[in-house]
């Protein structure tokens, strides 16, 4: 039987991070993953991540995956793919299904980093082809280059639902509606705003009544729900759609931990069955750790730190690192994790209704129900200022741990401050060079450059643009407001792409002066999707 100092199950963000730490301390480490490529969900994440510089902020998920793989291979980690761990037995014996047989392996320590699986919600026709998990849609689009459908209805307004909806549009699908039974949007407001300004309608307090179709989805009927989540008769709306994406949360895949004898608990806030662990992720079974989503659903950035914590702790327990070094490293990692677990979307705030930001500003209700900041609300936030000449307008209204915009500006125009969750403040006295780095660095695509004095009659608005085909200078089109409505004609006056922008293009449009604080997206045609969607049944 092969022996390892450390056996890790799952080569996702937390498993790889744990492996890098442990192997770095000299542990003989193997990582098993049932998939044919490593990285877990990271390689599906084509959007820029939130966070600080240390947390890979503004780097796209798949690039973080590539970095982790390089680090792992440099550290001498053995990654075994298409290798399914089928059981964990007494004395840390592990069985792996690999190359057509079952191998027995023994680890002195085991880190289970198996991640999570998608939840489903049953409705009439939910077993029709065309009803898929949002993660499945992401796999099809971003790993295999397959468009999941033409017209998609998304159920679920958490970050997964919001991010995947945007990616579906990038892949050329039409997102006919975003539906959630909850009264308020669950994910980041900036993610919702990206969809709203493209014209995606939000139906909060709504749920799917049925999927239509005989052998595949041809349409969807949704209904409004009351506070008890019961459908209200007579509120049905129909949408033509060939795909229904379900993004209603994740469940930890914790069966291996249960089998290995760990004490488990049912914790709805962490996504379901999770092991009871100490602060290092060690379970009730000495030497068996849990890291990442399997021990509670969170973001990939937290999963990576959890992995590093468990990897370091395992190395210490096995005598590969001195107590002094261990304490130093773990203190740093724990602080990193704490900084990510702060702000409005912190795990501790799950299910809480937050009325005010840390700065004491009222939270936009419009953002929570319709997906965009209303024009009346926008001037409350410290990232919004009006002044002569070119300047950034930062439509960031929720406290999330993210601050790349601050470093993006070399002229100290943008300040988040020591507290990473603070709202960015625009300094009206600083000069804006128009370099656009802040626009491209904002993972939430919430920064615009506005010049209300572009010429006699017009203003210019520079916005982040991640769709193909790219508009060209001179194109005559239309501007959409934050709600996605066509508000005026717009001329494309500049299209900038640069390696420094990392595939975010900067599109500058010229609009009438009074539209400078309204125009937030560009459309080449005047149709608004909102007008055609949501017919009566």
């Amino acid at each position: 039987m092969k022996r390892y100092d450390l056996v890790i199950v799952g080569a996702g963000p937390s498993g790889l991070s744990a492996a890098i730490e442990a192997a770095g301390y000299g542990m003989k480490t193997v990582v098993y993953d049932e998939n044919s490529r490593p990285g877990g969900q990271l390689f599906k994440q084509i959007h820029k991540f939130f966070g600080s510089k240390e947390h890979h902020a503004k780097i796209r998920g798949f690039r973080i995956g590539e970095e982790l793989l390089q680090e792992a291979s440099a550290a001498g980690v053995e990654v075994q793919l298409e290798s399914t761990v089928t059981g964990i037995y007494e004395d840390k014996e592990v069985t792996v299904q690999r190359k057509g047989h079952i191998e027995h392996v023994k680890g002195d320590t085991i880190i289970v980093a198996t991640g999570a699986s998608e939840n489903m919600v049953p409705f009439g026709g939910w077993d029709l082809p065309g009803v898929i998990g949002a993660g499945a849609a992401q796999t099809m689009m971003n790993l295999h280059g397959v468009k999941p459908g033409e017209k998609v209805l998304m159920l679920g307004s958490g970050n997964v639902g919001l991010v995947v909806s945007f990616q579906l549009m990038q892949a050329g699908c039409e997102v006919v509606a975003l539906v959630d039974a909850a009264p308020a949007i669950g994910g980041y407001g900036v993610h919702a705003a990206k969809l709203a300004r493209c014209g995606v309608p939000f139906y909060m307090s709504h749920t799917i009544t049925k999927a239509e179709g005989t052998d595949h989805v041809t349409g969807v009927v949704i209904s409004q729900v009351n506070e008890k989540f019961q459908k209200i008769p007579g509120t049905e709306k129909h949408f033509d759609a060939d795909t229904i994406c379900v993004a209603v949360g994740l469940s930890p895949m914790s069966q291996l931990l249960k089998m290995s004898g760990c004490t488990m608990s049912d914790d709805p806030k962490r996504g379901g069955q999770v092991p009871e662990t100490d602060e290092y992720g060690e379970t009730s079974v000495s030497g068996v750790y849990a890291a990442g989503d399997v021990s509670g659903i969170e973001e990939a950035s937290s999963a990576m730190i959890e992995g590093r914590i468990s990897g370091t702790r395992a190395a210490y327990e096995m005598g590969f690192v001195s107590e002094e070094d261990e304490i130093k490293e773990l203190t740093k990692l724990k602080n990193d994790l704490l900084s990510l677990r702060r702000g409005m979307f912190a795990p501790g705030n799950k299910g809480k209704k937050i009325e005010k930001t840390e700065e004491g500003i009222n939270v936009s209700q419009n953002l929570l129900t319709k997906g965009y900041l209303s024009e009346a609300e926008i001037f409350r936030y410290p990232g919004i200022c009006r002044k002569k000449g070119l300047h950034p307008v930062i439509e960031c209204s929720q406290n999330i741990p993210c601050n790349p915009c601050q470093d993006a500006c070399k002229f100290s125009c943008i300040n988040v401050g020591k507290d990473i969750t603070s709202l960015p403040v625009v300094n009206p006295l600083a000069k804006c060079s128009g370099c656009g780095m802040c626009v491209a660095s904002c993972s939430g695509q919430a920064i615009f450059l506005v010049d209300e004095d572009y010429d006699e009659t017009g203003a210019s608005v520079t916005l982040p643009y991640e769709f193909f085909p790219l508009p060209r200078v001179g194109d005559q089109g239309y501007a959409r407001n934050r709600a996605g409505e066509i508000v005026c004609k717009a001329e494309v006056i500049s299209v900038k792409s640069s390696p420094a922008y990392d595939r975010t293009n900067l599109l500058t449009i010229r609009v009438p002066k009074d539209m400078a604080m309204k125009a937030r997206f560009y459309a080449d045609r005047a149709e608004t999707k909102a007008e055609t969607a949501g017919g009566a049944v």
Binding site: V85, G87, I102, M259
Partner: protein
């Protein structure tokens, strides 16, 4: 005796519902109505439901339906969902062909 196992408790009669023919366990094609009826037949725990109906014992091993089955059983028997223990986790965690399972090394 915990609440879940108290079989003397009156859970009322089985009342047919409009979505009883909706499939819940897709692998084994078990409907909501079958699960609800099984509770009235006296299956109060997830383990019993699994053995009685085979839901959650197909290709995906309950990855998709486990939470759904749990909420239906809880709703029907009146137990709090948190008190219903999930099914036992056993090897193999993923479906394995017999010839592979037999080929240990």
């Amino acid at each position: 005796m915990n609440e879940v196992n108290d079989r003397s408790r009156d859970i009322g009669p089985f009342i047919p519902g409009p979505d009883d023919d909706m499939i819940i366990c897709r692998c084994e094609e078990i409907t909501r109505g079958e699960i609800r009826r099984a509770v009235h037949d006296g299956m109060f725990t997830i383990t019993e439901i699994r053995r009685y109906l085979r839901c959650g014992m197909g290709l995906c091993q309950g990855q998709t339906c486990a939470k759904l089955v749990k909420s239906i059983v809880a709703g029907e028997s009146g137990a709090a969902p948190g008190t219903l223990e999930p099914a036992t986790s056993r090897a193999p965690m993923r479906p394995v062909e017999m010839q592979i399972l037999a080929d240990e090394m």
